[in-house]
Symmetry: C2
Subunit: 362 residues, 2 copies
């Protein structure tokens, strides 16, 4: 019998832990921009759509909120605070007693929860706990959560599609670590995995939400892209791939290792993502709009650019290659980025965040 | 305004993390003995006293269980499994659908939660999360927990009483690190802190438990002790104190540092502990008995004895002295224990575990 509590839907990826120079805690500015851009959207959406009756139906004294893909902070704390303030406002406006809040911070089991816990805001007004595990599976009891939030995490798929590391498959992704500029078969394998994962994600959350419960998601997607080769954001991964191929040529890493390594990251074309959300039967789409994060972007230099990506990608690279290659790999990456200044031009991006507020049907 | 979510009732102590030779995970055999001895007691108590109606009153679909002072496992998993099996039995015997279980593993924020999470049993049948924070304060929303468990943790007090590190106080505990063989004022200071802490503990849990909710505690206590100097278990701490004093004499650690260091551990005389529990108004005592763990004790040699104590005490010693002194301190300790073989004689103990099952009044 399958055990739903420990189902391994997913390989384990986590942002770099600790507080060091390469840590996610110190390198989450790009994701922070996403949070800041979405803050007023979330606040307004929750303030308008949160149903204070939801809870009394369940005779529960607390409101349970979960952030999925929380990493080690601080972005997760900003989002949670913003949701709690919006809910409190509703209770206050109706002269109702404000309930206790219980917040669940979720990420992969390899996430650095010790650091997350040390970063808990000292002035928080909620009870906090950490929940390790993949969100491509069940994490919470049935009908136990009032509000889910997830930001910038749903572009990580649960696993690299098997066929792209299979020599005998038409989808074998030799000499690349991502689907950018790859054959159609590779792109399709990624897209299929993404769709399967999203369906599993939505189904699991539907089970865990109370009736009328809300889910506020910011999902990275590719905008105005006809061909995946045009997807500018992906070029960053392509460039990182060329560094690995160079290192293989110099014998610093096994070619076989490079051929079997792929980033489990997919930016769905916006229209396909919307189709997945619209075709789901468990949720009503209360609100949906794209976030223009461009105007919030902070200019970065090549060093910072490489550091931001190292924080996000180091875990999955280390898992496959070991940690010896990291410094050299990202040194090479920094140099290549320096040679292509357009890479740093955040105005030039065709990545977008889709903000969607979903309500669980009763 | 005080913030109840981050009230620092307590300094932070935690068992040694990781999986190394000095880790708690590898050195929790003594505590394991306690769990094994109490297992059938807990199982029987929960199976008889758990009220399946408790939950339906609250219209909740899940049973929430929390273990307080969980460390990194595996003892906590044994206790939780035993509680869940007992509850399931009740549901089965009444032909009721078994609800989802949500388990909260709590320990100090300095506990190694990363290791705890990696140790989660792969065959568990519950949703699991970690809750960092001192149990001498609120950890959970009001009326949100059905069953609390705590084993062998309540002998750790929330902090060293201030007066015993105060040169000008009659309770100054110079040249000792514990109350064993200390002046009455020192013992009293410890006992007062313990009583205050226990009251705070019971009050916080009363707020967090649902009406009729249960709390199963195993509390270490001193048995048949008229004078604290006779308390055999304390002699282990006294001996460790002499090692520190020796190191101070040899200039290997500052005398001032030793004078201001005290172990925040108190074994209440059994009758005083029972008085504290009986005088509490929030709970009904459903069951109370002492556990004879002696027959379950595994014989240990001096090396193992020192290792077991290092796993439990290293954190609090390292906090005060830094980690440089640890190896030498416990080498010296091992040698001293070898010179006093009676120290290893577990049959000779006057420490006892009080098992108590408390029911939250409605």
């Amino acid at each position: 019998m399958e055990n739903e509590f420990v189902k391994t839907f997913s390989e384990s990826y986590a942002m770099k832990g600790g507080e060091g120079p390469h840590s996610y805690a110190q390198n989450s500015k790009v994701q922070r921009v996403g949070i800041e851009a979405a803050k007023s959207l979330i606040q307004k959406a929750i303030a308008t759509k949160f149903d204070t009756n939801t809870n009394s139906t369940y005779s529960r004294k607390q409101i349970c909120i979960a952030d999925l893909g929380c990493s080690t902070g601080p972005n997760t704390f900003i989002a949670i605070q913003c949701i709690i303030e919006a809910i409190e406002l509703q209770y206050k406006s109706k002269d109702l007693t404000i309930p206790d809040f219980q917040v669940f911070f979720n990420d992969h089991i390899s996430n650095d929860f010790n650091t997350l816990f040390k970063n808990f805001p000292s002035n928080r007004n909620y009870f906090a706990s950490g929940v390790p595990g993949s969100f491509y599976g069940r994490l919470f009891p049935k009908e136990s959560i009032n509000v889910f939030h997830s930001s910038a995490s749903l572009s990580w798929i649960s696993k690299v599609p098997k066929e792209i590391t299979d020599r005998s498959s038409a989808a074998w992704n030799k000499g690349r670590i991502h689907y950018t500029n790859a054959p159609k078969e590779v792109v399709d394998a990624y897209a299929n995995q993404y769709q399967k994962d999203m369906e599993i994600f939505l189904h699991a959350r539907a089970e865990e939400l109370v009736g009328n419960g809300l889910m506020a998601l910011q999902i990275p997607a590719a905008n105005d892209v006809t061909f995946h080769s045009e997807f500018y954001w992906g070029k960053k991964f392509e460039l990182l791939g060329t560094c690995l191929v160079d290192m293989a040529k110099e014998g610093k890493v096994e070619e076989e290792k490079v051929d079997t390594f792929n980033l489990p990251i997919f930016f769905s074309p916006l229209k396909d993502l919307i189709k997945i959300l619209e075709s789901n039967d468990d949720f009503i789409i209360e609100q949906m709009e794209t976030i223009d994060a461009k105007s919030h972007f902070i200019p970065v230099n090549a060093q910072m650019f490489a550091s931001l990506h190292r924080a996000a990608l180091e875990g999955v690279i280390e898992n496959h290659f070991g940690d010896e290659i990291l410094d050299e790999l990202f040194d090479r990456y920094t140099k290549k980025v320096m040679e292509i200044p357009a890479m740093l031009d955040m105005q030039n991006l065709n990545v977008v965040a889709l903000f969607v507020l979903l309500r669980r049907k009763v």
